[in-house]
Structure formats: structure tokens, C-alpha cells
């Protein structure tokens, strides 16, 4: 018998976090036995209005439609879990918040008449109460499983706020910032991915958002000191989780003002 009912909702997003459900493998079958999945369009279940115990919400609030939908989702769900960088911080599309988005749209589309989007991309928690945030771009299947397990037991899951460096060192990786002067943001990024990129020799670029106590000033200074151009350092901080305050501050500090660029 199902112990709870769940829904998986989508706002403005790439559907990558929903796919994590579908990619759970055998655990997807287990999940289907443990809970009643009421609404999950990507899995072919369309019942948006269903009242559920747990609503997983992917995507940011970027359109008027997103605004209307999230209010309804909140009303019909006991527990709202924001999943992924978009739902938790506005996602990569929050870049529009720091630039002239109207100008951008004009440059990309021949005709902007049919675009209907808000001035900013916002995280779900700015509109409704969010009970839990699962970070990541996309979220981790392991954390998703731990979260469902914990919620079924009636407790909050234990989710890390420590830095990616911790997972990186446990994984036995060699620090790419130290050996290759790579612009790794692991020291200011929340753990959860299992240090995926550094495990393949690539620097971290903040998929899981800001860690506890992110010292972006010191890390940014170091990267600039290693000879990485200031503008690259600035942009590094505002890629996937640009909506987060510590990253925005770092961006503001190292971006080269537009005036200087023109000259």
C-alpha cells in the first residue's frame, strides 16, 4: 500500500531534475510501490490538480504562468520540495536578472511578440513557502532517495552544506586548482554531486549552489592571482546559480565595468 502521494511539477526548466526520477533504475519501481505518483507529466501522468502529500517542484518562476501554477501547487500539497538549481536559486536563466533581458531577447529572436516572461527568474521560495530544498543541476539521485526515505519516516533528510572539497578529498581526487591552476569553485560550493567534475579533472562550477560560509572574496582573489582574467573569474561565479547572493557579490567585484570594455 502506498505510504504517501507525490507529484512532480515542472516550471521553467530543462526537465533534467525530473529525469533523475526516471533514471533511478530499480529504485523507480520501488518508489512506485512506496508512493502513489499522482502527477508527473514526463512519466505520462497528468493530474495537475491532484492533492498530494509531497510535491517536488522543478524549475524557476520565469513566466506569469509559473506564478499561477506554483500558487496552486502550494495549495494542493502538504509538503513542497524545491528540486534543482532553478527551483532553489532561479537557475541558469537567472542570468537575465543581472543583464538587459529585453535586449537579449531582441538579439536572439526575430520577433519577441510571443514571448511572455517576467523581468526576473526567481526561486520557488520567493513566492511560496518551501519546506525543503534539494540542490543540484541536476539533483542527485542519492539525495533524492535519502529525501523520500526520510520524509516517509517523518523526519527531514540530512543534506550536506559542507564544501565540494570534502567529497573531492574523500573520493581520492587531486586538487585541480593546486596542480593545474584550474578555476575550481568547489571551495564555495555545496557538496552533493560527489565531486563529479573534479573526479574527471575538471573544475567545479557551482551546480549545487553556495555552501555554508562561502568565502568568495578569498577564492576570487586567488583565482585572479593565478592569472585567470578577472572577467572570467567574475563569470565563473554566475553560471548555474547566479541568483545566489554570495556569487552575485563576487561577480560584481570582478566583472570589468561595461565602460572599460568599450574603450
Amino acid at each position: 500500500m502506498a505510504q504517501a502521494s507525490i507529484a512532480v511539477h515542472k516550471l521553467t526548466s530543462c526537465s533534467g531534475c525530473q529525469s533523475v526520477f526516471l533514471n533511478l533504475g530499480d529504485d523507480l519501481l520501488v518508489l512506485n510501490e512506496l508512493v502513489e505518483i499522482s502527477h508527473f507529466i514526463e512519466a505520462g501522468l497528468n493530474n495537475f490538480d491532484a492533492e498530494v502529500d509531497i510535491a517536488f517542484v522543478e524549475g524557476s518562476i520565469t513566466t506569469p504562468d509559473d506564478e499561477a501554477r506554483i500558487l496552486k501547487v502550494r495549495e494542493r500539497s502538504r509538503f513542497v520540495v524545491a528540486i534543482g538549481a532553478c527551483a532553489c536559486s532561479g537557475g541558469v536563466q537567472a542570468l537575465r536578472n543581472v543583464k538587459d533581458s529585453v535586449g537579449w531577447a531582441g538579439a536572439v529572436y526575430a520577433d519577441t511578440e510571443y514571448l511572455d516572461s517576467l523581468a526576473e527568474s526567481r526561486p520557488v521560495a520567493q513566492l511560496v513557502k518551501v519546506d525543503l530544498e534539494l540542490w543540484g543541476c541536476p539533483i542527485s539521485g542519492r539525495q533524492l532517495i535519502a529525501t523520500v526515505r526520510a520524509l516517509l519516516q517523518g523526519v527531514p533528510p540530512v543534506l550536506p552544506t559542507e564544501k565540494v572539497c570534502q567529497e573531492c578529498k574523500r573520493a581520492g581526487n587531486v586538487c585541480v586548482l593546486v596542480t593545474k591552476a584550474a578555476p575550481c569553485l568547489g571551495p564555495v560550493t555545496r557538496a552533493g554531486c560527489g565531486a563529479l567534475c573534479p573526479s574527471f579533472g575538471a573544475p567545479c562550477y557551482t551546480c549545487f549552489g553556495a555552501s555554508e560560509q562561502p568565502n568568495c572574496d578569498s577564492l576570487g582573489e586567488r583565482l585572479v592571482g593565478l592569472g585567470i582574467p578577472q572577467r572570467q573569474v567574475a563569470e565563473r561565479f554566475v553560471s548555474i546559480s547566479s541568483g545566489l547572493e554570495p556569487y552575485q557579490k563576487a561577480w560584481a567585484r570582478w566583472r570589468i565595468p561595461a565602460k572599460q570594455l568599450d574603450s
Partner: protein
């Protein structure tokens, strides 16, 4: 025997609701042999485990009728679930860990207990032992502070202790407009000035929130009590209880293996410093 990390299966035998968020659980090991070998001393703690959730350190309130008693407040992820357990529920248990109150060394002296909130739980057994051997000690002073008088656990027990010869029971409530008869208004530290004990020939045992114990240390020092004769029970994020995980270090001591009970003068500097 299990290796030191591994808990033993135990069962909740009785659950007593003390206040809306405080519960006393009586526990017994599933394996009678384990139960039989179990010994504890006043002031020690156990690691209690809930399936799927993890372990938490909980001080042992007492051992009665073949059951270990733990008084638990619902404060964290695991403890909220612990207090909801009904008789028959299965849990994991390992222990006891840590040292105990210096009841032997305190023989022939005044015994002063200063506790606040749930801090009384780890000293209850010590008070009971002292009363059971009333003649071994001189005066007994029992001070307990709470926020509201109705928060006091075991009111009847405190009333009984008032009847013990030469035993002074002092209670204080800090957040109440009007306190009941025989109570004082304020923090437990205000009681220290009122209590009658010989500052030069007393052993003090304290347990409670750290700000309360810091204030008590100052009040005791003002009353001429040497910190060599004061003991308190400390708490940190104990995860292994084996002296291995490192979380409970407070300066040089590991609370789980060198404590939880310390002579105040031994750790005074670390304790008074913020951020250790």
C-alpha cells in the same frame, strides 16, 4: 560481544510523558545476557539508536526494576522521534560511556547540586544515591531552575527530598510573573546566594545549559567556593562515544572519554572561551 561501534537491540518497556516535549523511556536489552552484564555509574550516558535515523547520546537518568531510564527532550531530528516511541518499540543501545559523579570523593562533605532545565536528569541518580546513603554526607542542597514552574519535572520527588533530614531544596523560575509558594523568581544562580552550605567543605555538581553553568561558576566563586571542588557535566556533538570521532573535543578534553563530568578547575579556561 559486538565491536565497540555496534549497538545492541533493546525494547521500550515504559513511556512516561513528563511534559509536552519531555518523555522518560524505560529500556531493556533484548538479549538477557547483555542486560545482565550491563553496569552503569551515575552521570554516564548511552548512545540510543533509531532505525534508519541514527544515534544520539542521552544521559542515563537511572536504572530501576531492570530498566535503563532515559529522560529525553524533543529537540532534534532523532530525539523528536525518540520521545514518540511507544512501549514495545525497538531501538538500538550501546553504552555506558564516560565517567561518573565523584560521590565517593565527596563523602563527609556538603553536597550541592545545581541544575537547570533537563540538566537535572544526569544528576537524579546521584541525588538518589546520596540520599540512600544520607549519613555519608553532611548537608544536601538541591537547586533546580526552570523557565516556568510547571516545567519542573518530578515535582513530587523534589517535595519528598524536602523531607530528607538536613536537605535543602531550592527551586527557581526565571520567566514567571508570580512564582508559587517556596519558589524563587529568577535564574538558578540566584539560589546559590540563598543556599546554606560550607563553601570550604562542599562538593558541587552542576548540569544545565552552558550560560547557566558559566553564571553558576561566577556565583560560586563569589561565594568562596574553590573550582577544585566543583564538577559539571558537559555536552558536545558526540557521534562515536569512543574517543575516536573527534567531534566532542572541547580544547584538550574529549567530552565522551575524559568526561562528560569534569572538575571545573581542569577545564575552566576552555569552557569560558567562546567558540570551543
Amino acid at each position: 560481544m559486538n565491536d565497540p561501534w555496534t549497538p545492541y537491540s533493546a525494547r521500550v518497556v515504559e513511556r512516561v510523558v513528563e511534559t509536552p516535549d519531555v518523555v522518560t523511556l524505560s529500556l531493556r536489552f533484548t538479549d538477557p545476557e547483555v542486560q545482565q552484564q550491563y553496569r552503569f555509574a551515575c552521570g554516564q550516558f548511552n548512545m540510543l539508536y533509531l532505525f534508519g535515523l541514527g544515534e544520539v547520546p542521552i544521559s542515563i537518568m537511572d536504572y530501576q526494576d531492570g530498566c535503563l531510564q532515559h529522560t529525553i527532550r524533543a529537540v532534534g531530528r532523532v530525539s523528536r522521534k525518540l520521545v514518540a516511541l511507544e512501549p514495545g518499540a525497538m531501538i538500538g543501545l550501546r553504552g555506558p560511556y564516560g565517567n561518573s559523579w565523584p560521590l565517593e570523593a565527596a563523602r563527609g562533605r556538603d553536597l550541592v547540586f545545581i541544575t537547570a532545565g533537563l540538566g537535572c536528569a544526569p544528576v537524579i541518580a546521584a541525588i538518589r544515591r546520596a540520599i540512600a546513603e544520607r549519613d555519608a554526607y553532611r548537608r544536601l542542597i538541591i537547586m533546580q531552575g526552570v523557565k516556568h514552574s510547571e516545567d519542573l519535572l518530578w515535582q513530587a520527588q523534589y517535595d519528598r527530598w524536602r523531607e530528607v533530614p538536613d536537605c535543602e531544596v531550592l527551586l527557581a523560575a526565571s520567566e514567571e510573573a508570580k512564582v508559587p509558594f517556596a519558589w524563587s523568581l529568577g535564574m538558578v544562580t540566584t539560589l546559590i546566594d540563598k543556599a546554606r552550605f560550607d563553601p570550604l567543605n562542599s562538593t558541587v555538581m552542576m548540569c544545565g545549559p552552558e550560560p547557566m553553568m558559566r553564571a553558576s561558576i561566577r556565583a560560586l566563586e563569589n561565594n568562596g567556593v574553590a573550582m577544585d571542588n566543583c564538577y559539571f557535566s558537559l555536552e558536545r556533538n558526540m557521534q562515536c562515544a569512543l574517543g575516536l570521532c573527534g567531534h566532542c573535543q572541547m580544547g584538550s578534553p574529549f567530552i565522551c572519554k575524559n568526561g562528560p563530568i569534569f572538575r571545573v578547575s581542569d577545564v575552566r579556561d576552555w569552557f569560558l572561551l567562546e567558540g570551543y
